[in-house]
C-alpha cells in the first residue's frame, strides 16, 4: 500500500494539490463566465480529494478516503443546485456572465 509513496514522495502530492488548488482559486477570482467558475470550484475540491487520498495512503488510515466520498457526494449536490440557479438566471437575462449580476448595489 505504501509502496507508491516510495517512488513519488508525499511532498510531490502536496505541491501538486496546492498548485491545482491555486489554479482553482485564481479561476474563481478572475474568470467571469459562471460555468468556468463552477469548473474552478470543482478543481479546488478535487485538489483536496487528491491530497486526502495521498495522506490516507501515507498514514495507512482509511478514514481520509471515506472523507473523499463525502466530498464527492457533496460536490455533486452543490453543482446540481448551482446549475439550477444558473439556468434560472439564464432564463431571466439570457447570459451567464457574472458581471451582469449587478442589480444589488448600495
Amino acid at each position: 500500500m505504501n509502496s507508491i509513496l516510495q517512488y513519488i514522495p508525499l511532498n510531490y502530492y502536496v505541491a501538486l494539490a496546492a498548485i491545482i488548488f491555486a489554479i482553482g482559486v485564481m479561476g474563481v477570482l478572475f474568470r467571469r463566465n459562471a460555468i468556468i467558475i463552477f469548473m474552478c470550484i470543482e478543481l479546488m475540491l478535487n485538489a483536496v480529494n487528491m491530497l486526502l487520498t495521498a495522506f490516507s495512503t501515507f498514514h495507512g488510515d482509511e478514514s481520509g478516503q471515506v472523507m473523499v466520498f463525502f466530498i464527492m457526494a457533496v460536490a455533486a449536490a452543490e453543482v446540481a443546485v448551482g446549475l439550477a440557479i444558473l439556468v434560472m438566471i439564464y432564463n431571466n437575462i439570457r447570459t451567464v456572465d457574472v458581471d451582469e449580476l449587478n442589480k444589488l448595489q448600495g
Binding site: 482559486v25 478514514s63 452543490e78 448551482g82 431571466n92 437575462i93 442589480k103
Partner: protein, 459 residues
C-alpha cells in the same frame, strides 16, 4: 440525538406532503415536531452522550445551542406564514427549512471534522436554494448565485484546511486532533501543515460568518433573498455558524491560541468597525440590517478571541439576544416588504398607524444597540468582560466605540418611525407581525432582567 432524528424525519415528511396530500396539516405537524424536538433536547440535558463512533457528541453546549436554534425557528414560523401558504411549492420550502435546521444542529454537535463538513453543507446547499427561491425576481436569483459562489469558494478553503490537519494528525476526531496538537506543541515541533490548516479553516469560516475582509457578499445576499429567508439567515444560520466556529476552535486548536488569536482580534476589530460605519450610509432597512449583522459578527468573534471560562456562555447569550431582537425587527421588515418599500424613510407614520408599536420597537432596538436593561446590554457586557480578562483591552475599546456608531443608526429607525407622515401612507403591521414584535421584545426584556437564566448554564 433524538432532536436531530425528529427534525430530519420531519424534513423528509414535508417533502412527501404534496404526494400524499397532507399539505393542510403540514404546518401544525412541523410546529408539533419542533416542540417535541425541543423537549428531547431539554430532557437530554447533562447526559453528554456520544453517537456513531464519536461522530457527534451531544454535550450541554450542543444541547443549549440546539434548543436556541429550535426556539428561534419557532419564532420565525410566526412571520413566515405567507411564505408557506401563498406559494405553490410550500412543501419544498418547508422541507428545505427543516434541512437547514438539521445541518445547523449537526454543526452545534459535531465531534469529528467530517461531520462538521457534512453539517455545514447540509445547511449551505439548502440555503442556496432558499435564497434564490423567488424564481421570477432577478434580485433573488442574483442573491442565490452570489451566495452559492461565495459559499462553495469558502468550502474549498475549509476543506483544504481540513485535509492539511488530517495530514498532520492522521485523524478527523476533534479530541484526538487536540491531543496530537498538544503533544507536538509541548515538544515544540508543531508541523507546518497544522499552521497552514488552521489558517485555511479560519479563512473558510470567516467567509461563512461574513467577517470583515470577506464580508462583501453578505449585504447583497441579505438584500436580494426573500425577507423571511433573510431573517432566517441572519438569526438561525449565524447562530449555527458561530456555535460551530467556537466549538471547533475551543476543542481543537486551543493549544495554538498564540498563533491565531492576534490575527482574529484584528479581524474582529475591522469587522465591527466596517459593519457599523457602513450601516450608517444605508437607505434600505434590509441592507442596514445586513451591515448590522456583520457588526454583530465582529462582537461574537471577540468571544472566540478571548477563549476563556466565560466565553461559551457569553457567545450563547449573545447569539440568543441578537437572534431574538433581530427576529422582531425582521417582523417589521416583512411588513415593509409586503408594502413594497424597504427604505428607512418609508417608516414615517409607523407609530401613528400602529398604536403602541413604538414601545416594543424601542425595546428591540435598545437590545440591538446594547442599552440596559435589555438582553443586548448584558450580552455585550459579558463578551467585553471575557475579552478584558484575556488581556484584549484595545479590542474592547474598539468594540465600545463602534457600538456608539451603532446607536446612531439604530435610533434613526425609532426617530423616523415617530415622525408624522405627510402623504397619509405608512406601513401597517398584520397580526402575526404584531405578535412576533411583542413576543421578541418580551423575551429580550426577560433575558435582560434575569441574565442568570442563560449565564448559569454549565456549557
Amino acid at each position: 440525538m433524538n432532536t436531530l432524528i425528529i427534525i430530519s424525519l420531519l424534513g423528509v415528511a414535508a417533502m412527501m406532503a404534496d404526494a400524499f396530500r397532507f399539505k393542510k396539516i403540514l404546518l401544525p405537524l412541523i410546529v408539533a415536531g419542533l416542540i417535541a424536538a425541543l423537549g428531547f433536547a431539554v430532557a437530554a440535558w447533562n447526559s453528554n452522550l456520544s453517537y456513531y463512533h464519536e461522530m457527534v457528541l451531544f454535550n450541554n453546549y450542543a444541547l443549549a445551542f440546539s434548543s436556541l436554534l429550535i426556539v428561534v425557528t419557532l419564532l420565525w414560523m410566526i412571520i413566515s406564514k405567507n411564505y408557506f401558504s401563498s406559494e405553490t411549492n410550500m412543501a419544498e420550502h418547508a422541507a428545505l427549512i427543516l434541512f437547514v435546521l438539521t445541518g445547523a444542529i449537526i454543526m452545534t454537535a459535531f465531534s469529528d471534522l467530517s461531520m462538521f463538513f457534512v453539517g455545514l453543507e447540509i445547511l449551505s446547499i439548502s440555503l442556496y436554494v432558499l435564497a434564490a427561491s423567488n424564481k421570477s425576481e432577478l434580485r433573488s436569483n442574483e442573491a442565490g448565485m452570489k451566495y452559492f459562489l461565495m459559499g462553495s469558494f469558502a468550502t474549498g478553503f475549509l476543506l483544504f484546511g481540513i485535509a492539511l490537519i488530517y495530514g498532520a494528525t492522521a485523524t478527523f476526531n476533534l479530541a484526538k486532533i487536540a491531543s496530537v496538537i498538544e503533544m507536538s506543541a509541548a515538544a515544540g515541533n508543531t508541523p507546518m501543515f497544522v499552521y497552514a490548516g488552521v489558517v485555511l479553516i479560519m479563512v473558510g469560516l470567516l467567509f461563512k460568518v461574513s467577517a470583515a475582509p470577506f464580508h462583501f457578499w453578505a449585504p447583497d445576499v441579505y438584500e436580494g433573498a426573500p425577507t423571511v429567508i433573510t431573517a432566517f439567515m441572519a438569526t438561525v444560520v449565524k447562530t449555527a455558524a458561530f456555535a460551530a466556529f467556537y466549538r471547533l476552535f475551543s476543542t481543537c486548536f486551543h493549544d495554538l491560541t498564540g498563533f491565531w488569536s492576534h490575527a482574529m482580534a484584528v479581524i474582529a476589530a475591522i469587522t465591527m468597525l466596517a459593519g457599523n460605519i457602513l450601516a450608517v450610509y444605508q437607505k434600505s432597512l434590509k441592507r442596514m440590517m445586513a451591515y448590522s449583522s456583520i457588526a454583530h459578527a465582529g462582537y461574537m468573534l471577540m468571544a472566540i478571541v478571548a477563549m476563556n471560562k466565560i466565553s461559551a456562555n457569553a457567545i450563547f447569550m449573545y447569539t440568543a439576544a441578537y437572534s431574538v431582537a433581530s427576529m422582531g425587527i425582521f417582523a417589521l421588515m416583512q411588513a415593509m416588504t409586503d408594502a413594497g418599500n424597504e427604505s428607512v424613510d418609508s417608516l414615517k407614520g409607523l407609530s401613528k398607524n400602529n398604536k403602541g408599536v413604538i414601545v416594543f420597537l424601542s425595546a428591540l432596538v435598545f437590545s440591538m444597540a446594547g442599552i440596559p436593561p435589555m438582553a443586548g446590554f448584558f450580552a455585550k457586557y459579558y463578551i467585553f468582560l471575557g475579552a478584558i480578562q484575556s488581556g484584549y483591552q484595545w479590542l474592547t475599546l474598539v468594540a465600545i466605540l463602534s457600538s456608539l456608531v451603532g446607536v446612531y443608526y439604530y435610533f434613526r429607525v425609532i426617530f423616523v418611525s415617530l415622525q408624522d407622515n405627510t402623504d397619509g401612507l405608512g406601513h401597517t403591521l398584520n397580526r402575526g407581525q404584531w405578535t412576533l414584535i411583542i413576543l421578541s421584545a418580551f423575551i429580550s426584556l426577560l433575558i435582560g432582567v434575569i441574565p442568570s437564566l442563560l449565564l448559569t448554564l454549565s456549557l
